[in-house]
Protein backbone atom coordinates (compact mmCIF):
# COMPACT_ATOMS: atom_id res chain seq x y z
CA UNK A 1 0.00 0.00 0.00
CA UNK A 2 1.56 3.26 -1.15
CA UNK A 3 0.94 6.43 0.82
CA UNK A 4 1.68 9.84 -0.60
CA UNK A 5 2.32 12.79 1.70
CA UNK A 6 -0.89 14.54 0.67
CA UNK A 7 -2.90 11.45 1.68
CA UNK A 8 -1.95 12.33 5.25
CA UNK A 9 -4.13 15.45 5.05
CA UNK A 10 -7.04 13.03 5.62
CA UNK A 11 -5.85 12.77 9.20
CA UNK A 12 -7.36 15.51 11.39
CA UNK A 13 -4.13 16.15 13.24
CA UNK A 14 -2.23 16.71 9.98
CA UNK A 15 -4.81 18.57 7.94
CA UNK A 16 -3.02 21.89 8.37
CA UNK A 17 0.48 20.47 8.07
CA UNK A 18 2.83 22.00 5.50
CA UNK A 19 3.91 19.67 2.70
CA UNK A 20 7.49 19.42 3.94
CA UNK A 21 6.22 18.04 7.29
CA UNK A 22 4.06 15.53 5.48
CA UNK A 23 7.04 14.43 3.37
CA UNK A 24 9.06 13.99 6.53
CA UNK A 25 6.34 11.97 8.24
CA UNK A 26 5.94 9.59 5.31
CA UNK A 27 9.70 9.16 5.08
CA UNK A 28 10.05 8.41 8.75
CA UNK A 29 7.12 6.06 9.06
CA UNK A 30 6.88 2.29 8.81
CA UNK A 31 3.91 0.50 7.29
CA UNK A 32 2.52 -2.25 9.52
CA UNK A 33 -0.01 -4.73 8.17
CA UNK A 34 -1.83 -6.86 10.70
CA UNK A 35 -4.18 -9.75 9.87
CA UNK A 36 -7.64 -10.06 11.42
CA UNK A 37 -7.45 -10.69 15.18
CA UNK A 38 -3.77 -9.81 15.18
CA UNK A 39 -2.24 -7.16 17.44
CA UNK A 40 -0.47 -3.87 16.84
CA UNK A 41 0.67 -3.64 20.45
CA UNK A 42 -0.22 -4.77 23.93
CA UNK A 43 -1.31 -2.94 27.05
CA UNK A 44 1.81 -2.26 29.10
CA UNK A 45 4.24 -2.17 26.15
CA UNK A 46 6.39 0.98 25.92
CA UNK A 47 4.54 3.53 23.79
CA UNK A 48 7.26 3.63 21.17
CA UNK A 49 5.04 4.32 18.16
CA UNK A 50 2.20 6.58 17.20
CA UNK A 51 -0.22 5.06 14.68
CA UNK A 52 -2.33 6.30 11.80
CA UNK A 53 -4.82 3.70 10.60
CA UNK A 54 -4.92 3.54 6.80
CA UNK A 55 -7.33 0.68 6.22
CA UNK A 56 -9.35 -1.82 8.23
CA UNK A 57 -10.64 -1.43 11.79
CA UNK A 58 -8.86 -1.68 15.10
CA UNK A 59 -10.35 -2.03 18.55
CA UNK A 60 -8.66 -0.63 21.63
CA UNK A 61 -9.27 -2.71 24.70
CA UNK A 62 -8.20 -2.71 28.31
CA UNK A 63 -7.87 -5.71 30.56
CA UNK A 64 -7.89 -5.74 34.31
CA UNK A 65 -5.83 -8.23 36.32
CA UNK A 66 -8.72 -10.71 36.55
CA UNK A 67 -8.94 -10.89 32.76
CA UNK A 68 -12.05 -8.79 32.24
CA UNK A 69 -11.93 -6.82 29.02
CA UNK A 70 -13.38 -3.46 28.25
CA UNK A 71 -13.69 -2.20 24.71
CA UNK A 72 -12.58 1.42 24.84
CA UNK A 73 -13.16 2.50 21.25
CA UNK A 74 -12.92 1.39 17.64
CA UNK A 75 -10.50 3.11 15.26
CA UNK A 76 -11.50 3.70 11.65
CA UNK A 77 -9.52 4.74 8.58
CA UNK A 78 -7.41 7.92 8.87
CA UNK A 79 -7.86 8.03 12.63
CA UNK A 80 -4.90 8.29 14.94
CA UNK A 81 -4.28 5.97 17.87
CA UNK A 82 -1.57 5.46 20.46
CA UNK A 83 -0.68 9.16 20.50
CA UNK A 84 0.28 8.97 24.16
CA UNK A 85 3.96 8.27 23.57
CA UNK A 86 4.42 11.43 21.54
CA UNK A 87 3.35 13.49 24.53
CA UNK A 88 4.87 11.40 27.33
CA UNK A 89 7.91 9.55 25.97
CA UNK A 90 8.21 7.30 29.04
CA UNK A 91 4.57 6.16 28.81
CA UNK A 92 3.34 2.60 28.38
CA UNK A 93 0.40 1.79 26.13
CA UNK A 94 -2.72 1.86 28.34
CA UNK A 95 -4.57 -0.34 25.87
CA UNK A 96 -4.14 -3.30 23.56
CA UNK A 97 -4.79 -2.63 19.88
CA UNK A 98 -6.35 -5.58 18.05
CA UNK A 99 -7.31 -5.69 14.37
CA UNK A 100 -11.01 -6.41 13.82
CA UNK A 101 -10.23 -7.12 10.18
CA UNK A 102 -7.04 -7.10 8.12
CA UNK A 103 -5.63 -3.63 8.78
CA UNK A 104 -2.73 -1.48 7.72
CA UNK A 105 -1.34 1.44 9.69
CA UNK A 106 1.54 3.86 9.53
CA UNK A 107 3.72 3.66 12.60
CA UNK A 108 5.69 6.77 13.45
CA UNK A 109 8.24 6.86 16.23
CA UNK A 110 6.82 8.63 19.28
CA UNK A 111 10.15 10.32 19.94
CA UNK A 112 10.16 11.78 16.44
CA UNK A 113 6.70 13.22 16.84
CA UNK A 114 7.67 14.51 20.26
CA UNK A 115 10.53 16.43 18.59
CA UNK A 116 8.21 17.86 15.97
CA UNK A 117 5.78 19.01 18.61
CA UNK A 118 8.40 21.36 20.06
CA UNK A 119 8.12 23.61 16.99
CA UNK A 120 4.75 22.92 15.38
CA UNK A 121 1.74 24.55 17.03
CA UNK A 122 -0.70 22.89 14.59
CA UNK A 123 0.40 19.52 15.88
CA UNK A 124 -0.11 20.52 19.49
CA UNK A 125 -3.54 21.97 18.78
CA UNK A 126 -4.50 18.93 16.78
CA UNK A 127 -3.56 16.53 19.56
CA UNK A 128 -5.31 18.69 22.14
CA UNK A 129 -8.48 18.53 20.04
CA UNK A 130 -8.19 14.76 19.97
CA UNK A 131 -7.69 14.59 23.71
CA UNK A 132 -10.54 16.92 24.63
CA UNK A 133 -12.80 14.81 22.43
CA UNK A 134 -11.80 11.72 24.39
CA UNK A 135 -12.31 13.46 27.72
CA UNK A 136 -15.81 14.60 26.78
CA UNK A 137 -16.70 11.12 25.65
CA UNK A 138 -15.41 9.62 28.88
CA UNK A 139 -17.36 12.15 30.94
CA UNK A 140 -20.60 11.19 29.23
CA UNK A 141 -19.91 7.49 29.61
CA UNK A 142 -18.92 7.91 33.25
CA UNK A 143 -22.08 9.84 34.01
CA UNK A 144 -24.17 7.14 32.35
CA UNK A 145 -22.47 4.42 34.36
CA UNK A 146 -22.82 6.25 37.66
CA UNK A 147 -26.50 7.08 37.23
CA UNK A 148 -27.33 3.69 35.83
CA UNK A 149 -26.12 2.03 39.00
CA UNK A 150 -28.26 4.31 41.14
CA UNK A 151 -31.31 3.73 38.96
CA UNK A 152 -30.94 -0.01 39.14
CA UNK A 153 -30.37 -0.02 42.90
CA UNK A 154 -33.42 2.11 43.54
CA UNK A 155 -35.58 0.08 41.17
CA UNK A 156 -34.51 -3.14 42.89
CA UNK A 157 -35.23 -1.58 46.26
CA UNK A 158 -38.72 -0.53 45.21
CA UNK A 159 -39.49 -3.95 43.81
CA UNK A 160 -38.17 -5.76 46.84
CA UNK A 161 -40.19 -3.53 49.14
CA UNK A 162 -43.26 -4.06 46.97
CA UNK A 163 -42.94 -7.80 47.32
CA UNK A 164 -42.55 -7.45 51.09
CA UNK A 165 -45.04 -4.75 52.03
CA UNK A 166 -46.83 -3.74 48.85
CA UNK A 167 -50.48 -4.19 47.99
CA UNK A 168 -52.23 -4.39 44.68
CA UNK A 169 -54.67 -1.50 44.54
CA UNK A 170 -56.37 -1.99 41.21
CA UNK A 171 -58.18 -5.00 39.87
CA UNK A 172 -57.97 -4.34 36.18
CA UNK A 173 -54.34 -3.28 35.94
CA UNK A 174 -51.19 -4.21 37.76
CA UNK A 175 -50.64 -1.31 40.18
CA UNK A 176 -48.84 -1.80 43.46
CA UNK A 177 -48.67 0.62 46.39
CA UNK A 178 -45.83 0.84 48.88
CA UNK A 179 -46.51 2.79 52.11
CA UNK A 180 -43.13 4.54 52.33
CA UNK A 181 -41.90 8.10 52.01
CA UNK A 182 -38.99 9.27 49.87
CA UNK A 183 -36.91 9.63 53.01
CA UNK A 184 -37.60 5.98 53.87
CA UNK A 185 -36.60 4.97 50.38
CA UNK A 186 -33.39 6.97 50.54
CA UNK A 187 -32.43 5.28 53.79
CA UNK A 188 -33.33 1.80 52.62
CA UNK A 189 -31.55 2.06 49.29
CA UNK A 190 -28.40 3.68 50.67
CA UNK A 191 -28.82 6.81 48.59
CA UNK A 192 -29.25 10.49 49.34
CA UNK A 193 -32.63 12.22 49.37
CA UNK A 194 -31.43 14.34 46.48
CA UNK A 195 -30.61 11.38 44.23
CA UNK A 196 -33.74 9.48 45.20
CA UNK A 197 -35.96 12.52 44.60
CA UNK A 198 -34.40 13.18 41.25
CA UNK A 199 -34.71 9.59 40.09
CA UNK A 200 -38.29 9.25 41.34
CA UNK A 201 -39.23 12.51 39.62
CA UNK A 202 -37.77 11.14 36.38
CA UNK A 203 -39.71 7.92 36.71
CA UNK A 204 -42.89 9.76 37.57
CA UNK A 205 -42.49 11.78 34.40
CA UNK A 206 -42.09 8.56 32.46
CA UNK A 207 -45.26 7.13 33.99
CA UNK A 208 -43.47 4.31 35.78
CA UNK A 209 -44.53 5.40 39.27
CA UNK A 210 -46.61 7.90 41.18
CA UNK A 211 -45.56 9.35 44.50
CA UNK A 212 -47.62 10.68 47.39
CA UNK A 213 -46.67 11.93 50.82
CA UNK A 214 -46.14 8.56 52.40
CA UNK A 215 -46.56 6.27 49.46
CA UNK A 216 -45.12 5.20 46.15
CA UNK A 217 -47.40 3.61 43.59
CA UNK A 218 -45.82 1.45 40.90
CA UNK A 219 -47.88 2.04 37.77
CA UNK A 220 -45.68 0.09 35.37
CA UNK A 221 -44.14 -2.81 37.28
CA UNK A 222 -42.65 -4.44 34.24
CA UNK A 223 -41.01 -1.16 33.25
CA UNK A 224 -39.40 -0.99 36.67
CA UNK A 225 -38.31 -4.62 36.41
CA UNK A 226 -36.58 -3.82 33.15
CA UNK A 227 -34.59 -1.05 34.81
CA UNK A 228 -33.78 -3.19 37.84
CA UNK A 229 -32.57 -6.11 35.79
CA UNK A 230 -30.95 -4.06 33.06
CA UNK A 231 -33.09 -5.78 30.45
CA UNK A 232 -33.21 -4.47 26.92
CA UNK A 233 -36.68 -3.64 25.59
CA UNK A 234 -38.47 -6.97 25.40
Amino acid sequence: MKITPTDLRNVDVFKDAPLEDLDLLVEKSILRSIEEDGFFFFQGDPAAYFYVLLSGRVKLLQSNPSGQQVNLRTIKGWQVFAALGAIRPEALYPVTAQALEASAALAIESSFLHEMMQTRPYLNFGLMQLMTGYIQEMQVRYKELATERIDRRLALTLLRLASQIGTRIQEDSLVVEIPLSRQDLAEVSGSTMFTVSRTLADWERQGLIETGRERVVIRDPHGLVKIAEGLEAS
Partner: protein, 82 residues
Protein backbone atom coordinates in the same frame (compact mmCIF):
# COMPACT_ATOMS: atom_id res chain seq x y z
CA UNK B 1 -47.81 -42.58 55.48
CA UNK B 2 -48.85 -43.12 51.91
CA UNK B 3 -49.00 -40.42 49.28
CA UNK B 4 -51.02 -40.37 46.12
CA UNK B 5 -48.47 -39.96 43.35
CA UNK B 6 -50.46 -39.86 40.11
CA UNK B 7 -53.36 -37.63 40.98
CA UNK B 8 -56.22 -38.06 38.59
CA UNK B 9 -57.74 -34.69 39.37
CA UNK B 10 -55.49 -31.78 38.38
CA UNK B 11 -56.11 -28.24 39.50
CA UNK B 12 -56.54 -25.91 36.53
CA UNK B 13 -54.55 -22.69 36.48
CA UNK B 14 -56.81 -19.75 35.69
CA UNK B 15 -55.97 -16.34 34.26
CA UNK B 16 -56.36 -14.56 37.60
CA UNK B 17 -53.89 -16.84 39.33
CA UNK B 18 -50.70 -15.02 40.30
CA UNK B 19 -47.34 -16.21 38.99
CA UNK B 20 -46.53 -17.10 42.60
CA UNK B 21 -49.61 -19.34 42.90
CA UNK B 22 -48.84 -20.91 39.55
CA UNK B 23 -45.27 -21.79 40.47
CA UNK B 24 -46.25 -23.08 43.89
CA UNK B 25 -48.93 -25.27 42.36
CA UNK B 26 -46.48 -26.87 39.96
CA UNK B 27 -42.84 -25.72 39.82
CA UNK B 28 -42.57 -27.23 36.33
CA UNK B 29 -44.49 -24.21 35.11
CA UNK B 30 -41.19 -22.31 35.33
CA UNK B 31 -40.11 -24.22 32.22
CA UNK B 32 -42.90 -22.56 30.28
CA UNK B 33 -41.74 -19.11 31.39
CA UNK B 34 -38.11 -19.84 30.56
CA UNK B 35 -39.01 -21.25 27.16
CA UNK B 36 -40.91 -18.08 26.33
CA UNK B 37 -38.03 -15.96 27.66
CA UNK B 38 -40.27 -14.46 30.33
CA UNK B 39 -38.55 -13.18 33.45
CA UNK B 40 -41.32 -14.26 35.82
CA UNK B 41 -39.59 -16.89 37.97
CA UNK B 42 -37.71 -14.93 40.60
CA UNK B 43 -39.40 -11.63 39.74
CA UNK B 44 -40.38 -9.51 42.75
CA UNK B 45 -43.81 -8.96 41.26
CA UNK B 46 -44.68 -12.68 41.38
CA UNK B 47 -47.22 -12.22 44.14
CA UNK B 48 -49.08 -9.50 42.28
CA UNK B 49 -48.77 -10.38 38.63
CA UNK B 50 -51.60 -12.57 37.37
CA UNK B 51 -51.26 -14.80 34.31
CA UNK B 52 -53.47 -12.42 32.36
CA UNK B 53 -51.08 -9.59 33.30
CA UNK B 54 -48.14 -11.67 32.07
CA UNK B 55 -49.90 -12.27 28.76
CA UNK B 56 -50.52 -8.54 28.38
CA UNK B 57 -46.99 -7.53 29.33
CA UNK B 58 -45.26 -10.00 27.04
CA UNK B 59 -47.94 -9.71 24.39
CA UNK B 60 -48.69 -13.39 23.98
CA UNK B 61 -51.95 -15.25 23.54
CA UNK B 62 -53.52 -15.73 26.98
CA UNK B 63 -55.34 -18.97 26.09
CA UNK B 64 -52.16 -20.54 24.74
CA UNK B 65 -50.18 -19.43 27.80
CA UNK B 66 -52.75 -20.94 30.16
CA UNK B 67 -52.86 -24.12 28.15
CA UNK B 68 -49.07 -24.44 28.28
CA UNK B 69 -48.95 -23.68 32.00
CA UNK B 70 -51.58 -26.35 32.61
CA UNK B 71 -49.58 -28.83 30.59
CA UNK B 72 -45.95 -27.87 31.12
CA UNK B 73 -44.58 -31.21 30.04
CA UNK B 74 -46.35 -31.22 26.71
CA UNK B 75 -46.29 -27.51 25.86
CA UNK B 76 -45.49 -26.83 22.22
CA UNK B 77 -43.04 -24.51 20.49
CA UNK B 78 -42.42 -20.85 21.26
CA UNK B 79 -45.40 -18.61 20.84
CA UNK B 80 -44.73 -15.76 18.44
CA UNK B 81 -44.97 -12.32 20.00
CA UNK B 82 -46.37 -9.10 18.57
Amino acid sequence: MEYLINMEIKIQIKDDWTVDDTLKNDPRASNVFFRERMHCPGCYMQKFCAIKDVAAIYQVDLAKLLSDLNNPETAGKNMSRR
